[in-house]
């Protein structure tokens, strides 16, 4: 993990362990203390503390003037965040599930993301748009999507997606301090929620105090030599699990946790693929016209001869997320599918 900033101890020395959700909240609280321009608004961010505990305890600490429950009016309150940011505040607006983007995308992509450009750089929109993403718990086609590719395709907003508690904190601090709109997507499966099966990596060491994880820098979550697995969010955990297993079979996987889609750390990807010669992209977003294609294209437009085998991807195969567990598990990028893909790649 790369951390920068005033207090940036390496996680190796850190004893304190937090869930990803708590790490996120800690970051928001630190920034709210430092800068009174930071406010939080969204549905159920107050007394409920965020449906996914993304704002737990903030109302109690900072009061209803700064932690604001909104009506179910995403266009209005995300737009309000934009206007407040234009006037120098630093709002954090929460879209409860990313799946709801369709009711408010105009504010997001035509306003939040474009005002700075259209103003010739004269107006800044320093805000964070947070949203929960991801499936795996049978929430159906309208509450299980990742959709980061949709945001990353449209210019003018940074897009970050943490997978670990320490990154969740450091990226949140970076996002709040960034003078640009930052879309911060947190996967429900990495939060460490008490009411969802926990990945053992959803709790991890989190440095105290104030540090940033730079936006636009991928992390090598596990170094390896045979295959590069480029991924993000919960799929990082799956990829690491598979990598551990396959190590016993003598297959060495390098796992790259993108952490940021915009900007995308192309260099780290290229450098890894140059070493391994094999590329697998694991993406819980839809397969086509998204992240997986982009990552592969970045390699193929740089140097297709880096690929000793055809590039591969494990994604949601262009199907709405089904409700029934048997079907949902069949379309998600599960460890099984990842393992199979790696095996196919190394034997290609």
């Amino acid at each position: 993990m790369t951390v920068t900033g005033t207090a940036a101890p390496s996680t190796a020395q850190v004893q304190r362990r937090l869930t990803t959700a708590k790490a996120m909240v800690e970051a928001i609280a630190l920034e709210m203390e430092r800068d009174e321009n930071v406010i939080v608004l969204g549905e159920d961010v107050g007394a409920y503390g965020g449906i996914f505990s993304s704002t737990a305890g903030l109302l109690e600490r900072f009061g209803p003037e700064r932690v604001i429950d909104t009506p179910i009016s995403e266009t209005a309150f995300i737009g309000a965040a934009i206007g407040a940011a234009v006037e120098g505040m630093r709002p954090i607006a929460e879209l409860m599930f990313v799946d709801f983007f369709g009711v408010c995308m105009d504010q997001i992509y035509n306003h939040m993301a474009k005002i700075h450009f259209e103003s010739g750089g004269n107006v800044k929109v320093p805000m964070v748009l947070t949203a929960a993403v991801g499936g795996g718990y049978s929430d159906g086609a309208q509450h299980s999507q990742c959709l980061w590719g949709t945001f990353a395709h449209l210019p003018g907003m940074k897009v970050v997606v943490p997978s670990t508690p320490a990154d969740a904190k450091g990226l949140m601090i970076s996002a709040i301090r960034d003078d640009n709109p930052v879309v911060y997507l947190f996967h429900k499966g990495v939060l460490g929620l008490p009411w969802m099966a926990k990945s053992r990596r959803a709790v991890g060491p989190v440095p105290e105090g104030d540090y940033q994880v730079p936006i636009g820098k991928a992390a090598i979550a596990r170094p390896g030599t045979d295959v590069t697995i480029v991924t993000l969010a919960l799929s990082v955990h799956h990829a690491l699990d598979v990598a551990e297993e396959l190590a016993e079979e003598g297959i060495s996987c390098e796992v790259i946790d993108l952490r940021s889609l915009v900007p995308l750390d192309t260099e780290t990807i290229l450098e890894s693929v140059a070493r391994t010669g094999r590329l697998l992209v694991v993406d819980e977003d839809y397969l086509s016209y998204g992240l997986s294609g982009e990552v592969i294209a970045r390699v193929a437009e740089h140097d297709p001869t880096l690929l000793r085998a055809p590039a591969a991807r494990v994604c949601v195969p262009d199907v709405p997320i089904p409700y029934a567990r048997s079907l949902e598990q069949a379309v998600l990028p599960t460890p099984d599918r990842i393992r199979d893909a790696v095996r196919r790649l190394v034997s290609a």
Partner: protein, 324 residues
């Protein structure tokens, strides 16, 4: 009111409650000792409508299977009152191949072409498709209508406004229902809605608006009856808000720590209230109450059994039905 009608309303309410209680039981049955939303025979979010039976029963008593109903993320009561097949409803909630959507949809995405029933997990976004159903019914010269349902929280979403304006403008045969259960998850009405009654919002579209204050199924029945008759007669849409009550959490597993009204909620349960009323009126006695309960229980348990016996979808079919 005709005793027969009153009995029917009661019967529908009991059937709904019995179903919701059974789903609740099944939902939690295999999530012990630690609640895990992804575990068990029924995984995922579960929004139950206990307390809101009067709205569905009162409205749907005026409908036939040719009329359309679009409901919300909290759809079971309307599905049942509108006559969606109970077995296939239950099977969909269990994610089985005999479910309404062959297990693809789940509890927030129920589609039944036989009764023109549908719902959506996206707030207020069930309204717009109802307009088109009504448009199709009207163009074909029928007197069929569409009923579109949202919660009071949803009435602050843009789709609400656009839909009411379009329906009023085109004089579509739609009846818009707002279920005001005081809460949008943890957000009280006072923190979401700038006016005490959504009925006043009807004036913004030049259509009739009514608010039923007391969660009375008979009041709903009367007010909805007028609105539906208007719609069938080609006189355009109406808006009805019913002040109802959410007896349980927003979804199962919701501890409702945010809810100061929790202690009084049980008193507002419309079922014992209506039962007592009908007993006083001589429409119900111990025997009928028992018989109705028994019948409801039998139907619901049969549906649950049907669901459990239906096969899980074959993972090899996961990519089916993306395109027709």
């Amino acid at each position: 009111m005709e005793p027969q009608v009153r009995l029917e309303l009661y019967r529908t309410m009991v059937l709904i409650r019995t179903f919701e209680e059974a789903i609740r039981r099944e939902y939690h049955a295999d999530k012990k000792p630690v609640f895990d939303i992804a575990a068990g025979l029924i995984p995922g979010e579960m929004h139950l409508a206990a307390g809101q039976e009067p709205v569905a029963a009162g409205v749907c008593a005026h409908l036939t299977a040719d009329d359309a109903v679009t409901a919300t993320h909290r759809p079971h009561h309307f599905a049942i009152a509108h006559g969606v097949n109970l077995n296939r409803l239950a099977a969909e909630i269990f994610g089985r191949v005999d479910g309404l959507g062959k297990g693809r949809g789940g509890h927030m995405h129920l589609f039944d072409p036989e009764t023109h029933f549908s719902c959506s997990g996206i707030i207020a976004e069930g309204y717009p498709p109802a307009l088109g159903q009504a448009l199709a019914f009207k163009r074909r010269g029928t007197d069929r209508i569409a009923v579109a349902v949202t919660g009071e929280g949803a009435a602050n979403q843009g789709a609400f406004h656009e839909s009411l304006n379009l329906a009023a403008l085109w004089k579509l045969p739609v009846v818009f229902i707002v279920e005001d259960n005081d809460w949008g998850i943890s957000v009280p009405r006072s923190a979401s809605t700038s006016v005490p009654s959504n009925a006043v919002r009807a004036a913004a579209y030049g259509i009739p608006g009514e608010r039923v204050e007391d969660n009375s199924v008979e009041a709903v029945y009367r007010v909805a009856g007028e609105a539906i008759a208007r719609a069938r007669a080609g006189e355009g849409p109406s808006l009805i808000e019913v002040h109802t009550v959410r007896l349980w959490g927003h979804f199962e597993g919701d501890a409702q720590g945010y809810r100061p009204d929790l202690a009084e909620v049980a008193e507002r349960d419309p079922l014992p209230i209506y039962e007592a009323e009908l007993r006083r009126a001589g429409v119900l006695d111990d025997d009928t109450v028992k018989a109705i309960a028994a019948e409801a229980s039998e139907r619901v348990e049969a549906a649950i059994a049907f669901a459990k016996n239906s096969p899980e979808p074959d993972p090899a079919t996961a990519l089916d039905h993306v395109f027709a």
